[in-house]
Symmetry: C2
């Protein structure tokens, strides 16, 4: 049974302030909950229907509170339009990424990504391309926002994110001779640019691109050229789309 | 002034049935409305604030009804969370794409894309890559759904879409010797595949990929390989993300 208080608490995790206070976040959906259980993340509690419990690992031992409840109860607690048979409340991991950790690796850096769907999609892209670390500016949307979690399709459990003063981090990377790339309208055609197998790729805000403060730290400006037939074509790609194309270009050449 | 009836009518365009009956669709936001006016689409009417009217083309002649109204009135009619200063109701164009039109061109075909955000993003990607035509299966989400329009960021005005019996259309394409590509888990590594500059690329449903009926018609199966470090990585990319990477691969080699 899911008490009224528990339902209220689950829903309150929609708010960043509560998540930060409690150091907890919400994961919804059968597949996502299963991925959470299989991950290294610490689980606070799981709410699931009898059917879901029988079908999954729960028959074995587990070290978290398991609350059996009805589909209707999950519906009440859920933030989704189409709730499923399970949700989980999970402890936030420590953010430990240091510049030394990303030497000789290919890493993403996000400068003020605002849309949760975009951040979630970028985390999923990073996972696909074997990118282990993402540095986020402090004004990037919270990665534990439920919409980010859902759009990441479980990739949130496999990527190390760190919210940081991005200008400072990138300045440090420069001092450590890590090559730093960023996308700019006036950048070099990415298809004709020599790309290394390690470095940092900075992606900027949906409306305004990379901020002036961070632009100063970027030695390598690149650009995805448009193939539109006229100059009436789209002015830009969605930032997650652009991230995918850039990652594809870096990775295919390795 | 915006009458109650007009507000009701604008909101009713959220429903496909009404759109199809009236052959009209809704576009919201200053930039989108401007793009609509500059496009070849026929405009039924525009609702805009005095400020927007003064800042834009409306000082000149125009052949559509222009309704000056307050920001609050637009808010009442709007389907957006953050309404702007203008919205427009626009006539649906005739869908005229024929197989002969896409010979010697690179064309997208969408098999049961369900999510409006995905379809809108794919239309924007097509525009960026100079792809003029998109064939959609009849069960693909309606391209005049307001969420598709918004995600397309104006690209909807530059791309010819056609809803069609996709299996039949692709069968015709095969008979016309148009090479047909599609993404499958067991497909050939796209980075190592020879890709022509014209042909059809089929992208499949978010959950289930390309349907069996259409798979039969696809001679060239391709695949975006994962670079994940373990087999625990994401199982798939979002369909719009995958479309972007495939289009990038086709186009960069032209």
């Amino acid at each position: 049974m899911l008490s009224k208080n528990k339902i209220k608490f689950i829903q309150s995790l929609n708010r960043k302030k509560v998540r930060d206070q409690e150091q907890l976040f919400l994961v919804e959906g059968n597949k996502m909950v299963q991925e959470a259980i299989e991950s290294d993340f610490q689980i606070e509690f799981v709410c699931a229907t009898e059917g879901f419990i029988q079908e999954t690992l729960f028959k074995n031992e587990h070290d978290f509170e398991l609350i059996e409840c009805s589909g209707d109860e999950i519906k009440k607690a859920s933030l989704l339009q189409n709730p499923q048979q399970a949700l989980a409340v999970i402890k936030m991991p420590k953010q430990t990424v240091q510049i030394d950790d990303i030497k000789n690796k290919f890493t993403l850096a996000l400068d003020f990504i605002q849309d949760p769907g975009n951040l979630g999609t970028i985390i999923r892209i990073a996972d696909w391309f074997g990118i282990g670390h993402i540095l986020c500016s402090e004004n990037t949307v919270d990665c534990f926002n439920p919409k980010v979690i859902q759009a990441s399709m479980g990739a949130i459990f496999r990527i190390n994110l760190r919210y940081t003063n991005l200008a400072e981090s990138i300045s440090k990377a420069n001092k450590s001779n890590i090559p730093v790339f960023g996308t700019f309208l006036e950048g070099e055609n990415i298809y004709q640019t020599k790309l290394p197998s390690s470095g940092i790729l900075v992606m900027g805000n949906e409306g305004n691109g990379i901020s002036a403060e961070i632009e100063k730290e970027i030695a390598h400006k690149i650009h995805i050229p448009s193939f539109a037939n006229s100059n009436k074509g789209s002015e830009s790609l969605n930032v997650a789309t652009a991230t995918a194309i850039c990652c594809s270009e870096f990775k295919r050449r390795e």
